[in-house]
Point group: none
Chain length 210, copies 4
DNA sequence: CATGAATGAGAATTCATTCAT
DNA sequence: CATGAATGAATTCTCATTCAT
């Protein structure tokens, strides 16, 4: 309608096709997360997801092939989200202790204690042992946490010791998260401080053992 | 058919009615555990369970009302199993440290790392946020661990500190278990030693802080 | 209700379980034949079949696994029917010529020209090139016709010549049947006489060539 | 955009509009034939056809209205192909016997034994009894064969006899084709010779009966 | 107590068709 | 002319539950 000369360049007035598709995919993934959080894994049907995303049921297969494809994309989305948060927090930390705390804050951060997120992770974990697709994503996530922690501890410890402590801290993080989520605790504050104290203690012991 | 008076006494030749029923219930619960472990929560149908138990599908509703009843009974069975193992190990422990170790050995014992058991717990946990029935059982289990640990630590610590340390140890136990199970590690040995070392460190710190 | 002593033996008053199951299977197969004849292969849905058999849709998978299983069973039923009719007619024929006529009468008999039957065969044949299951049944049927004809001709001809003539007669039978069915002709009478004349001619030629 | 007068004449540089459209239609029809031959009638979806023709799914409705329109056009294409081949072969034949042979060679020619073509005819025939559109095309084809044969036989026989023999030969042709196609035989050579011998015999009998 | 045939609601998936771009 | 995202009805298959035997 405008008679002004369109600026040449990569930017058209409307959303580009490919972007619109990405938006739709995101929309379906969000709807999936909400459905799992609200009604659980079993009750999360394609119809339920489509209803929440306000699209037709057929669209899921169009964009994700089948339900499993959508679920895997959803799990990947959750994992990627966590990873990018972790990366951002790690960049801002300037000491080993701070970097460890960054990992803790990411994994036990408020986001992760939202009912919306926590129950979804839990639901996926319940499927992991019987879904190679989920297992792959889950393993990548698990390795990334440990790797982040090892990297943070490297300046202080020999590789083997760094590995052991990283695994211990990772377990503590996951355990605290798990118990809080299963108990329905919404508050991550106390949990984060427990984890912090735990790490402080470990670092104190490290200082002594030197 | 015999009109002779039945000898009263400790044991009739045949199984008493009530015992036969218990055997059937146990048989169905075992089949359920195996089915969940083998094919996952979603693929565990009544037909699948009945096939494994070598009974007809109709029998489930007879003994457990409906599928959900069977599942809840199965979860209770798992929890009770763990509790009785814990009680037995606790009785034999004579020091606070040994009692803590008993909790660790129970929860990270070989049983719990059987694929058969671990994936089943995980599967149930995935349902906990959306099943009040499961949630109740799960909460009881979670409280029992913490209570066992608090009881073990009471001789050494003030109630509040005991509570905090108990929660920390419980989190460590669950975290180690979770990571090992999700990663498909079958070996509980290493995990138990990590937990032991962790507790040793905590006790060492306790000694210092006095 | 009767107080007479039951005759011991294999025959209970009511239908035996296994017989009832057979009746149900037969019922579903008949419904399938009618559905294909009436509305065609594509429009023959499980719901349509169940409606005609006056049972629920779930019963199909219970008895035949899936739709394909029912379709294969239906094709086998048609083929077996034809085979048993052929066998009966062959037994009553006392000369080579009569035996050939028996094959003709079976395959071009009134049954085969019922709309109910003809269109169903045709529908299956359309699927044969893409269904190994159907192809197997079809091949068995095709071989049986040729074998019947060869057997009838054996007293008159050397094996090689018998084979050739059998194939020719079989082709004539199938071709007549096909054209009549495709044209919607309900009348098998004319077709049978054409086939008969054709065979007479062939036999006449045989007589001359000797 | 050009305002120059288009040069009238035999051929413009670009394809004319109407030709380009014809090319597209042909392209879609060929893709349909290949799809039916490869995956069967039921699995031949519009998406499958579009994929093979390397166009979008929407194009089908544009050019053929709907799927059924495309299928009918495909069947007509097959029939027209056969008819034009037959016409060409007939023109070159100079005797009644040769003209009959031309019909045989056309209908049992190598083309018709290509898997690509044979299974497609068969698939359509399976639908004929339930599709008036297909039935019309099929009847036209069937009549044409018979008419060609009658025409070839007219110099030798009275109309009634010509009709009868034409039907017999047509049945033989279709029967041979059918059995060969259903059996998956790729070779038309043997089949053509069987048909030839058959006709020779018939002609010999004709000579005798005069 | 136990069986297993039968039901029927509900789930995933497919696919012809439409339509804004 | 052409695209392909979107729709939504139709279909198959699954499965917890019931109930006559």
């Amino acid at each position: 309608m405008s008679s002004l000369p369109r600026p040449t360049g990569p930017r058209p007035a409307r959303l580009r096709r490919v972007d619109a598709v990405d938006v739709r995919r995101r929309q379906l993934i969000e709807a999936t997360i909400e459905a799992i959080a609200d009604v659980g894994f079993n009750a999360t049907t394609i119809a339920e997801i489509a209803r929440r995303a306000d699209v037709s049921t057929g669209l899921v297969s169009f964009h994700f092939g089948d339900k499993d494809g959508l679920l895997e994309a959803t799990l990947r989305h959750l994992a990627r989200d966590l990873a990018s948060t972790a990366a951002a927090q790690m960049r801002q930390a300037s000491s080993p202790r701070a970097r460890v705390q960054a990992v803790i804050d990411t994994n036990l951060g408020p986001n992760q204690f939202e009912r919306r997120i926590g129950t979804v992770w839990l639901a996926f974990w319940g499927q992991v042992p019987h879904s190679p697709r989920f297992a792959r994503v889950q393993q990548a996530y698990q390795r990334r946490i440990a790797s982040n922690l090892r990297h943070a501890l490297r300046p202080l410890l020999a590789p083997k010791a760094a590995h052991a402590l990283a695994e211990t801290i990772a377990a503590m993080i996951d355990g605290l998260w798990l118990r809080a989520t299963l108990a329905g605790d919404a508050d991550g504050h106390e949990v984060r401080s427990v984890a912090g104290t735990f790490v402080d203690n470990q670092f104190m012991l490290l200082g002594q053992s030197r």
